[in-house]
Amino acid sequence: MICLGIEGTAHTIGVGIAEDVNEKCKVLANIIKMYQPKEGGIHPREAANHHATFIGDLIIKAIETAKIDKKDIDLIAFSKGPGLGPCLRTAATAARALSLTLNKSIVGVNHCVAHIEIGRGTTGCRDPVLLYVSGANTQTIAFAEGKYRVFGETLDIGIGNMLDKFGRTIGLEFPCGPKIEKLAEKGKKYIDLPYSIKGMDVAFSGLLTAAENIARDKKQRLEDICYSIQETAFAALTEITERAMAHTEKNEVLLGGGVACNKRLREMVKTMAKERGAKFYVPRNNLCVDNGAMIAWNGILMYQSGTKMSIKETTIDQKYRTDMVDVKWR
């Protein structure tokens, strides 16, 4: 079965085409385009306009890349949520139009669940704890009795959001994560920052405020501050991942989300896994970030396990939580 998936929850509009081969995911095409704000963070309406401008071309390009005919597509999938309303609506509208034009079935996918499924579908892990780290989301997720349940999450802001906010304070452009990573590589001195863990949850707002204050004082090297932010925040993320693994008694760990591209975070989680005799998995970078292929792949899983949606049911849900999805395919 071949599915075309459209992702549009936040800054990225993506079209991916996936096929199931022996119960594994084969990515035939995966094209993304990211909205770049002129200043500040994501403006939801501007982002949606950006998505509307490019979605048509991306669909054509994805079909060309996959070397298929549009008649070969069996299913359309789209990101139902969670995310920014205007962006979600744009992606959903494109998916509905495509579904009606091609006369193919359509399913709405939970964006967070898609991140875990693309990992399971392409890396070989079977029953992992997922550390899902992106701009908006920071969660540890694992499967338990029919659902992906959230064991730990941020109590305030997502890790990527924290990095972006700090980055803006020191004059970096969105997305700031990769730039902070570069600066951190040249950091040498560790500056004490708040380390906040509540049970299996984390919180970053205290760390952000402290780091911003230190940066404004201009007494410390920027590289050292970035280094200290990464070391502190990523250690906390690794710790809640390990806590979720101990609690759920699982021995596989999977990374997902845009921040999973960070090399230092990967190294830390990998070391943690090694120390407790667990296996470490991370999808390739273009499947870690927001992308259409993961939506397509999750669409296939849903459709094959019996989920069918009428156009009327293809509404979006800005607050579509991970644990609201009935996981029929496992």
Partner: protein, 209 residues
């Protein structure tokens, strides 16, 4: 003098070893070095947590909350030697008892938490994995993320951790947390409504609520 010690449990941050203290059967909780984090941060976290944990356990016991008796604290090796409780984890019991029994246990949990909070003891990681039923009493363990704090925010967060643990682990029994709050309300000296209101506020602060 060297006694052979067997690891009986490996948690996220510590190893639990079977040991002996004088003639008592004991366990050693050893916070092990984590190579994923830098040395400065690693040692700071392990030392602070070991010290806080011992302090808070003694404080809890003084105020009538069942906890293992502390025999020894070794800050250099980040190790606490304490009483061995031959009981069962509440996580493994709670799903397998009658609703009546579950209500009784959950109320006991709530009463224990109220006794801690009456004395401004914040546990920091209240989950059913950190409770042991022994001699008919629920013992609290693992105070490593705890602190002394009188703020309603801290007490609300403390209960919020348990609420989430129930949602993830005991989701088949949705009334558990309500029972806990009943027990909590019955023993808390201050107005429990304020804390309950704070929990609702903390939930709303989260993503997608």
């Amino acid at each position: 003098m060297a006694v052979k010690k067997k690891i009986i449990y490996r948690g996220a941050e510590a190893e639990i070893l079977l040991s002996k203290y004088l003639n008592y059967k004991a366990i050693e909780k050893r916070r092990i070095e984590k190579k994923y984090r830098i040395k400065e941060l690693d040692h700071k976290l392990r030392a602070i947590r070991t010290k806080e944990e011992a302090k808070l356990m003694i404080e809890a016991r003084k105020n009538g909350v069942p906890v293992p008796i502390i025999y020894d604290v070794d800050l250099k090796n980040c190790t606490i030697t304490m009483e061995y409780l031959q009981g069962k984890k509440l996580k493994d019991i709670l799903n397998n008892v009658s609703e009546k029994e579950r209500k009784k246990l959950c109320k006991m949990i709530g009463e224990n938490i109220a006794k801690l909070h009456n004395n401004n003891i914040i546990h920091g990681d209240i989950t059913t994995s950190n409770m042991i039923l022994f001699n008919g009493k629920i013992h609290f363990i693992d105070f490593g993320l705890g602190e002394l704090n009188s703020e309603i925010e801290a007490k609300g967060t403390d209960l919020h951790v348990l609420m989430e643990a129930f949602e993830a682990t005991h989701f088949k029994h949705p009334k558990c947390f309500q029972y806990v709050l009943q027990g909590y309300q019955s023993k808390l000296k201050d107005d429990a409504k304020q804390v309950i209101k704070k929990i609702e506020e903390i939930v709303k602060r989260g993503r997608y609520r």
